[in-house]
């Protein structure tokens, strides 16, 4: 019996160490979209609950799988073993193993309900309001407080609560930055809310988590948690009107092409075009990514994207306007100038 106990003890420790290594040992650098590295009050509440859950799951796993293995090893048929006694049940045992899990469940249910009400409470006053609109297949972010509309990249200041209201322009999507907390669906004819207070500066990926059509996998986004100063600078830059290129430069020609070939029907550039179907491009040059945050915002990627959107992002609703390479180069120069 002693050797068996030691063996079990070792196995349990090994399992726990392995689990800890797998769950906690990895860094955000290696797993940038990890849900196990919380950086907001909301995500931290979830993490604490998860830790309680994992504790009980490990305990139950070890006990029950252990009991199963011990039973199988101990009572496996051996030559000469007698015919077993026919036992039909035991009321005390039945009551005990009904109550034991009920107690564990109560220990988990209480913090669960408390966390539900805490994280779904009304957001504290003075929070930054951001309206999020899901589109097939990109995210739009509106800041009513600053009059800013942007896409795919959400900027928020560290330490200030952000209240996100969630809507959709077409089908159901799900808004998910694991770093700041759980996901929330955007549903037609519903306005959903979550709020969180980011606690560290950084750049974090997120993406749509509800199947929304052919390019569901390409509906990604980025969260920039900035220092209050950087955020202020960013809002100031976004609030400014668009850069007006000199008409003799390539960018200036690009603006003419932009106005002429039909881009204006879908895209807003403040004071230039009114389209509302695609992302607002007023400051597209300041973004780090394009096309639903799937490609870095480089001249080469922009050119490929404009040249054949459907090839770069299956099902993309952006039209292929059949521009020639010169026109594309000009439009790219214009878009890149929109800092």
């Amino acid at each position: 019996m002693t050797s068996r106990t030691t063996w079990w003890f070792r196995l349990t420790i090994a399992l726990l160490v392995l689990g800890a290594a797998a769950l906690g040992g990895c860094s955000l650098h290696d797993y940038p979209q990890s849900s196990l590295h919380p950086h907001s009050d909301y995500a931290n509440s979830i993490q604490r609950l998860l830790e309680t859950l994992v504790f009980w799951v490990v305990v139950i796993f070890v006990l029950v799988e252990g009991a199963l293995i011990v039973t199988v090893v101990r009572f496996r048929s051996r030559p000469g073993a007698p015919e077993p006694k026919h036992v039909h049940g035991n009321t005390t045992l039945e009551v005990a193993w009904t109550i034991a899990p009920a107690l564990i469940l109560a220990l988990v249910a209480v913090p669960t309900v408390l966390t539900i009400f805490k994280t779904q409470a009304k957001a504290p006053a003075g929070s930054l309001e951001v309206k999020v609109v899901g589109h097939q297949w990109w995210w739009e972010f509106q800041y009513p407080e600053y009059g800013i509309v942007t896409a795919s990249e959400l900027h928020v200041p560290v330490g200030r609560t952000v209240t996100v209201s969630l809507e959709t322009a077409d089908v159901i999507h799900s808004f998910w930055f694991p770093i700041v907390g759980g996901k929330r669906d955007v549903v037609p004819n519903h306005v959903n809310h979550i709020w969180f207070t980011p606690d560290s500066v950084g750049e974090f990926p997120g993406q749509c988590a509800e199947l929304c059509g052919v390019s569901h996998a390409n509906m990604r986004m980025k969260l920039f948690v900035q220092s209050p100063e950087d955020f202020k600078a960013w809002t100031a830059a976004q609030q400014a009107g668009p850069v007006e290129p000199d008409s003799t430069t390539l960018a200036g020609k690009g603006k003419a092409v932009f106005l002429e070939v039909g881009c204006v029907a879908c895209h807003t550039i403040q004071g230039v075009s009114p389209g509302i179907i695609g992302p607002n491009l007023t400051h597209v040059g300041t973004r780090t990514t394009i096309a639903g945050s799937i490609y870095p915002n480089t001249a080469e990627n922009l050119a490929k994207w404009i040249g054949d959107p459907q090839k770069r992002k299956p099902g993309a609703t952006m039209l292929n306007l059949g521009l020639n390479p010169d026109q594309i180069a000009a439009v790219v120069a214009y878009l890149q100038s929109l800092k």
């Binding site: 769950l23 990895c26 797993y31 940038p32 979209q33 990890s34 849900s35 509440s45 979830i46 609950l49 998860l50 859950l53 009980w56 799951v57 796993f61 799988e65 199963l68 039973t71 199988v72 009572f75 496996r76 048929s77 073993a81 015919e83 077993p84 006694k85 026919h86 039909h88 049940g89 039945e94 193993w97 009904t98 899990p101 469940l105 988990v108 669960t112 309900v113 966390t115 539900i116 779904q120 077409d170 089908v171 159901i172 694991p178 759980g182 996901k183 929330r184 549903v187 004819n189 519903h190 988590a209 509800e210 199947l211 929304c212 059509g213 052919v214 569901h216 996998a217 299956p314 099902g315």
Partner: protein
Amino acid sequence: MATTTAPVTAAAHAPAESGTGLWSWITTVDHKRIGALYGVTAFTFFLIGGLEAMLMRIQLAKPENTFVSPDVFNQLFTMHGTTMIFLAIMPLSASFFNFMIPLMIGARDVAFPRLNAFSYWVFLFGAIFLNLSFFLGGAPDTGWFGYSNLTSSQYSPGHGVDFWAIGLQILGIASLAAGFNFIITIVNMRAPGMKLMRMPVFVWMTLVTSFLIIFAFPVITVALVFLLFDRLTGTNFFAPAMGADPVLWQHLFWLFGHPEVYILILPAMGIVSEILPTFSRKPLFGYPVVVYSGIFIGFMGWGVWSHHMFSVGLGPIADSFFALTTMLIAIPTGVKIFNWIATMWGGRLELKTPMLFAIGFISMFIMGGLSGFMHASPPADLQQTDTYFVVAHIHYVLFGGSMLGIFSGLYYWFPKMTGRMMNEGLGKLHFWLTILAMNVTFFPMHFVGLLGMPRRVYTYAPHMGFDTMNLISTIGVFGIALSLLVFIWNFLTSSRSGALAGPNPWGGATLEWAIPSPPPVYNFGTVPTVHSLDPLWAKDGAEISRTANQVRGHIHMPPSSVWPAVSALGMAMLMSGMLFGWWVGIPGLVIMLVGLYSWAFEPCH
């Protein structure tokens, strides 16, 4: 308790269908043959669904892979889920219902043999219809849950969703007919003396499952009718632009979908509850508690559907309510597991292949249950739902649970079905390969999900940390394929040249082991009177076996009939006419009416 085959004077009572040709299979109303048809058909679809999974895993083996297009990928996961649930696991369970229930309760057939044949043929035609979509413009691609409003004509203009909705309606008819058939069979046709609390647990779980089927399928039927009206006639049940709330679909779907989960797992729980006592040489521990737990799970299955919808934003009260009901369901599930372990405790465990799979079922189902317990807590679920963590959970429950239970039952009852034993060595190889490969495939999914990989994505970016774990999962799926090849080889060779089984090769306690393997068409020469829960282990066990094999006088068996198959074909054509047009629908209606009329007025002796 071992019995010798009593002299059976079956020749004098030659069954109406003793042939072996194709026609005899099309016209059969014998529950055993229908069970075999269900089994072979469902296993074929299991392989097709597995192939779909394999293609997905190859696509996900590395980031930004281009093995399949995003559109095809969406079709693959939609059809993989739909196939495994409706065309594989449910009908594999139905195969055991068909083959074993009459034998276990001491009946000669099910209550409505021709309706039983009708169920099978409707299932087959529905399954074929659903899969035709691959060749007729593209399979459904909106997920097995088909969330509105992605399924609307606007966002899914192809015919995939129509194939899906009509296909599920056809399959629903098969399930409903089977559900009623088994309820009536179990309630009315038990051997004398077999009170409800003397029924084997598998019979109990079949009864509970059948009730779940007849109450759950009408809900999905209504939802699918709404969806089809929206798509085919322009109604607005799920049209947000006209003020509809697409969350209605989610409520209807999961009000069906959660009981469906128990439709998938309860039969496996029943199978395991038969196998553990046989191979422990000891009766089931806490029989009434196991039965009541199953019934309680069946009831509670109706009160937890919104735990699939925690991210929808139903509010803190709804989230708390469904979290608590979901946690409550863990209690009877845990109690079952404890009783299974207690059944083995103090026994003499014969670790034959069926027993290994039963133990594997318990072990893997515990893991699936524990990950389920983690997302029963809504805040935690909000990080886990729609990620690979849930993919891991569902595969531990449905593969580690339902499928291991089904394999367990297959190895257990194969001798009864075929008269021959499966090869033990190959069976054990199959078992260990399965356990190893399924854990290699599905265990890393827990982590890749918690580390932020959503499900239903056809690709992922490099540098997200998803690469290695996805590659491991992909390697694992080839292990599962290998294990299935071992099983298929074992099945084919053993059914031809396995050792002869005799009536009761495992020393089982239930009635099916009293009669020859394979059983005669009429099953029981004389239906024995049952005095206990484990009739063949009781003092009068030998007497029961003797009685069961005595043929006294003429045994009337229902004659074979082609009309159930004809009616089923007509009904499937009629319903597919919604998509293909009147030139299929009208002939279908005529064929169905001819079939039903001829069925109704067919002389039955």
